[in-house]
Amino acid sequence: MEYIELLAPAGDLERLKIALLYGADAIYIGGEKFSLRANAKNFSLEDIKEAVSYAHSLNKKVYVAVNILFHNEDLEGLEDYLIELDKIGVDAVIASDIVVVKLINELNLSYEIHVSTQASNLNYESVNFWKKLNVKRVVLARESSKENTKLIKEKTNVDLECFVHGAMCTSISGKCVLSNYTTNRDSNRGGCAQICRWTFSLDDFDKPFTIMPKDLNMIENIKSMIDIGVNSFKVEGRMRSIYYIATVILMYRTLIDKILDGTITKGYERYALNILNRCANRDSVSQFYNSLPGKDEQYFLDRDEASNQDFLGLVLEYDEEKGLAKIEQRNYFKLGDDVEIFGPKTDTFSYKIHTIYNEDKESVDIARHPKMVCYINCPKKVIENDMMRIKIFDKNMFL
């Protein structure tokens, strides 16, 4: 079987470590320059060095996005940056602009070249064009159907990477400058203001005109994607929280492993879908994979996107003798709450909180302060970096 990889986003070192712990095989990040999330915290060269060292210690990989479309002035420093990334030992650079691909070739740098979804590749001839430039992997446009993807693989034998989860653009990636003309923020250089999520008005209709798509999820299609030869399953969201990343990566890791060992069930897929939709606060669908999306794959009524408050705390330690978990609070919780704990090596379990101590070991009713350290009763062993959330569903309903 071909190489299969679960690829996670990471906006900073904490997210990177969580993603790798929760089961990603590789991470993609952006540097402080040349990446399409210009307003995220991003990674300095020192951070990238640390990220690569950590990932390689786990036998995992780091890809760096150098994926803007360059203006003349942006070219300054590009060569030096690409050379620095080579010295650090990153595993690949993700590029949209031909100048990056060509320079990597001319400079004879050792990492792989991956071409971004921003290059809008939807056919085998464009993929072969890049292949001739020593591109090892192409991230297909999200508009590629199952049959289209299968044929691209057959005719090119290039590694294919496809998005499986997360936010969608309304536009074909790389072909949108709505943000440029509405806010002066350049969507192809990292400043996108997501105008496709705004509402517009029509002269002759009282409802807002919207073009916002639902999110993508490919839970029910992972096996099919493996069968047609997709190599890397990419989760969107370099600016997402550690809770989102942990939840999504763990779900897809479990799905992929269950598919590969033949134990996947429809019940587990349904459970995964419910967990994932809840943590993103948006509906998600398979979009273009099986057919052209219609009205059911978009939002039309005004939506309030309240941030998800399910994530309650991060496990720091566990005292087996006392049955107490040391938790760093991430959202308000109190005595009597039904919670569940999950982790990369911890089967999800749920229980009721009946004891909370603050850091001074004083009994309290509520953990109300952001990032306060507290101790709570916990009936099973948990480990550092496990996460606690509101009990959402009873897993047994689905399995």
């Binding site: 210009a38 307003n39 479309l69 360059f70 203006h71 003349n72 942006d74 070219l75 602009d97 031909i98 100048v99 060509k102 809008s120 939807l122 056919n123 085998y124 001839e125 464009s126 993929v127 072969n128 064009f129 508009e143 289209n148 044929l151 691209i152 005719k155 309304t170 536009s171 074909i172 072909k175 949108c176 400058v177 709505l178 440029n180 003309y181 509405t182 806010t183 002066n184 923020r185 350049d186 192809n188 250089r189 990292g190 400043g191 105008i195 705004w198 509402t199 517009f200 008005s201 029509l202 002269d203 209709f205 005109f209 073009i211 052209l292 999306p293 219609g294 009205k295 978009q298 039309f300």
Partner: protein, 275 residues
């Protein structure tokens, strides 16, 4: 003499077949036809049999899947009445290599720096410089390009291209009569956008016309005019302004110079008072 040179370097994108005669009257004889079945964002598109002009090019601007590439391989290997193809999808580069057709990249948002342009010029005969950049950036590109390039001189700029049928989906949801084009208003910035849909997707245009008609440079190989949404009177005013290097004023049309004199930003400045 200069006017004749300019005319010889001008290409009219044919959004309305009747405009061909207007163009010929002022000495413009080169035309770019949105190719039926392979273009988006146009109400009027053309099959090969519709194209009778001697200096004609095809415009292929939609996302091409495998089947489309296979169809185009057959069509373009047999075409007789076309000089070349303007295209967005680089998958057409190898397709056109096996033909005698001129290859010209026309991707509004891709051709934004001179190094990338020179790399693309290793594979194509020319390309149209992006409309997302300033006049200074355009000049710098022209000074550093290895071949003469095209300039988008006038017309509506496509801001977004979705594979979804955004108008149909909206109208179906609200059980409204469907239209294939619609003007919408963004209420905060007051910008208007025109959405145009066909079976291959939806293009959103800025509801203003980009005006760079007075730009001239020795390294320009052609000037492209897109008369989409113009009436005949306005088209003639555009030709007059262009050929005589005059200021342009149109009836009921808002003009914009886009980013010719204003840079876009990518990284937001830090907020005041932020630590």
């Amino acid at each position: 003499m200069l006017r004749k040179m300019i005319r010889n370097k001008t290409i009219l994108l044919v959004s309305n077949k009747s405009f061909i005669d207007n163009a010929k009257e002022v000495g413009i004889n080169t035309f770019l036809f949105p190719f039926k079945g392979f273009s988006v964002g146009f109400d009027e598109t053309f099959e090969l049999d519709d194209i009778k002009e001697e200096n004609s090019y095809l415009y292929i601007n939609r996302a091409l899947e495998n089947n489309d590439i296979n169809n185009l391989k057959e069509i373009l290997s047999n075409v007789k009445n076309i000089k070349g193809v303007f295209f967005e999808d680089i998958g057409l580069i190898p397709v056109l290599e096996n033909t005698k057709l001129e290859k010209i990249i026309f991707a509004h948002h891709l051709t934004t720096n001179y190094k990338s342009i020179n790399y693309y010029l290793e594979y194509v005969d020319s390309l149209v410089i992006s409309t997302d950049i300033t006049e200074e950036e355009i000049k710098e590109i022209l000074d550093n390009a290895n071949k003469p390039l095209g300039i988008f001189s006038f017309g509506m700029i496509p801001l977004m291209y979705s594979r979804r049928k955004l108008l149909s989906n909206f109208n179906e949801f609200y059980e409204r009569e469907n239209k294939n084009s619609e003007v919408v208003l963004e209420p905060v910035t007051k910008e208007k956008f025109k959405f145009v849909e066909n079976e291959y997707g939806t293009v959103s245009y800025l509801n203003k016309h980009y005006n760079n008609l007075n730009f001239r440079n020795d390294n320009v190989s052609f000037y492209l005019i897109n008369p989409l949404e113009l009436n005949e009177n306005n088209l003639n005013l555009v030709f007059d302004a262009f050929l005589n290097n005059k200021e342009l004023k149109l009836d009921n049309i808002t003009l914009t110079d886009g980013f010719l004199h204003k840079k876009t930003i990518a990284k937001l400045p830090p907020k005041e008072g932020a630590r």
